[in-house]
């Protein structure tokens, strides 16, 4: 068992920088998730940990051992990928044992490990079966078993669930979370799916174009995003962004554009003062847009008249689409909402949940109540 440390790690292919100045400490037994859009460098990062890719510059430690030049087989790492390949002519037992045989582990020790892993994964009754006779979920478990029997210091998982259908994915998500508590080991888990990241990670690293955007606990990413990229990437549907000018009138601040005039809450005043007279980006999550009568009555200042473009009933709620000042906005409204397609409707933005961003740097302005994860 060991943690991992990245110090100024850079990976280039020719002149192309795909992982840029990666600095990160992963704690022993932590479940760390790397998340970001396709091509942002997640797999490359995992491969560097595994030793499958050389590190262009910087240092990588497993525990306190510098591993830049340690070959993959000596790194004490196991990997689980999205495709769960198994040896078709071998039984489940042999499938799990094979990697250990290649490593010349004694037979008795192999037997102990295979039976233990089978017990943890609840597949003891399948040990004599061939892969053909297994369901998708069972195969996935055998693939996990193959990694577990290594008893590695670190597990690396590269989008292990992305090939499964939606139902099985949710089930395996819970399964892996449970498993990691039983195994008590460090896991680095890669996904492009923010829901998976949010539900599984102790901490999440949000990446874009090879750069770490934010490393934080899941709820911090949601409540206190560091910039527009994180704000837009975490949460579904995405946060709405609206441009507005910040003005001061009658001693109060107002966000003004062609579609609305909204007052930021008083606690924001100080942080927003430097932006008076300038454009600013106002971010509001779809769940912070409301239309229930008591809320509208309590906050007449926060309301806006909109023209509804689309209503998508989701069962427990409706996604309601409209545009303001030329930009699309999504609201998650209760199923009881009276919003109708192509009709006018009154909604209110919960200004206590509004976020503000600098249009130049795209960085968040002011994060009251934010506490770093660790």
């Amino acid at each position: 068992m060991a943690g991992l440390t990245f110090k100024n790690v850079i990976k280039k292919y020719a002149q192309n920088v795909v992982v840029n100045d990666f600095n990160l400490e992963i704690k022993d037994k932590e479940f760390l998730v790397l998340v970001g859009p396709s091509g942002c460098g997640k797999t490359t990062t995992l491969r560097m940990i595994a030793g499958l890719e050389e590190i262009t510059s910087g240092e990588l430690y497993i525990g306190d051992r510098l591993v830049n030049d340690v070959p993959p087989k000596d790194r004490d790492i196991a990997m689980v990928f999205q495709s769960y390949a198994l040896y078709p002519h071998m039984s489940v037992y042999e499938n799990m044992a094979f990697g250990l045989k290649l490593r010349k582990i004694p037979k008795a020790e192999i037997d102990r490990r295979v039976r233990e892993a089978a017990h943890i994964l609840d597949i003891e009754h399948l040990l004599e079966r061939k892969p053909k006779a297994l369901s998708g979920g069972q195969r996935q478990r055998v693939a996990l078993g193959r990694a577990i029997v290594r008893e590695p210091q670190v597990f690396l998982m590269d989008e292990p669930l992305s090939n499964l259908d939606a139902k099985l994915r949710v089930q395996m998500r819970a399964e892996i979370s449970k498993l990691r508590h039983r195994l008590q080991t460090t896991v680095v888990y890669v996904t492009h799916d923010q829901t998976e990241a949010m539900t599984m990670g102790d901490r999440i690293v949000v990446m874009k174009d090879g750069l770490i955007q934010q490393v934080d606990a899941p709820m911090n990413l949601y409540d206190h995003p560091k910039n527009m990229f994180v704000a837009g990437f975490i949460g579904s549907p995405s946060m709405n962004f609206l441009k507005a000018k910040l003005v001061e009138e009658d001693g109060r601040l107002w966000l003004v554009n062609s579609a609305f005039r909204l007052p930021p809450v008083a606690e924001r005043r100080e942080a927003l003062t430097p932006y008076i007279g300038k454009e600013i980006i106002f971010g509001i999550r779809p769940e912070a847009v409301k239309d229930d009568a008591p809320f509208l009555a309590a906050h007449p200042d926060w309301s806006v008249d909109v023209h509804v473009d689309v209503v998508e009933p989701m069962g427990s709620e409706n996604y309601v689409y409209f545009s303001l000042n030329g930009e699309n906005v999504i609201a998650r409204l209760a199923a009881a909402s009276q919003a109708k397609v192509l009709q006018r409707h009154k909604v209110a933005f919960d200004m206590s949940l509004a976020r503000y961003f600098d249009p130049e740097t795209q960085a968040v302005i002011h994060r009251p109540g934010y506490e770093a994860a660790y």
Binding site: L52, P71, K73, A85, L102, I281, E327
Partner: protein, 358 residues
Amino acid sequence: MKQYNREERNGSNPFLHEELCERLNQETGLEFSARIAQDAPGRTAAIQGEGVEKNALIALRFDGEDGEIELTCVFPAGDVPGILTSRLLAALARQIYTDLLRELKQPAQAWTREKLLSAAVELHWDETVFEQKEAEYALPKLSLGFPLLIRCQNWHSEVPTVIENLLPRRDVLWVHQQEVFLFVRAEMPNARDLKTGGLLVWGEALIQQIHTMLADEVGVLAGVCVGYPTERGLWRGYQEVQRLARLHVRFFPGEAGLAAWKLGLAGLLGEISPEVMQRYRRETLQERLTPELRETLETYFAHSLSISETARALFIHRNTLLYRLDRVAELTGYNPREFAAAVQLYLAIWSQRYEGEY
């Protein structure tokens, strides 16, 4: 290698002699020719001065299967290579001759497709020769399957073991340097697979499976290329996956591999030399796009030229986007909002992205 027929093994075999000379010449850099000696036997190998003018003649004689063989070579006298004594040359020739005989005498069954591939690569056979040999050695018929090439960036002695066990249903498994070439028998797709794309989906899944297994089991990073399924044309299949491997490195280096049916534009643009592509890019983009404009264009193309979706994805106002697109038109002379111009820009941007130019 010259072409021998099995019948010639018994009678006098001119091909055998020709091959003998060719190999000896390769070893020595001299130019021998061979014949069956008709005159009195018993003359030993010697370097003699009986040549034309000042030229020397090397004559090597030894017993062959069908009579005494004489190899002769004429060269300028002054150039006699010091270390190549006639005895040494004769010994060398005898050794090559014995090896050749052994090679020829092996029963036809000993020829496998793997050996055929080795010979073909080593001796630069073309498709015709390869197919001739295949027919000649009466190798068993191939089943319907995928030609598949695994290119390993690093190596581990257990790579073949892992592959053998992962893909037990195969007609060919040939290891050559850090490459493994396979002909993997296709699983007959059942009705459900057919609905989801059947055979090709199955073939494509091999890429991830092999890539994953090698990385996980022995720490080897491999690119896996899969060709179209076929029942014949082993050589063509081999050539196809070699070509795919080159395109994989050039256009999709970050991926685990490449399937022939996933080439898309790369299949087309791969035929164009990098120099020509570069010139095209230079002419189209005028080297003037800032990173911001390039990202804008890429996002615009990725969102099917939709202004509102692109603006949203970039977190910018639609007017800002329109301004930027105008700017691209100004700088390059191609207006991305017009279809034909957009195609030009798209190709330039595409090749730039895939040829790692930034």
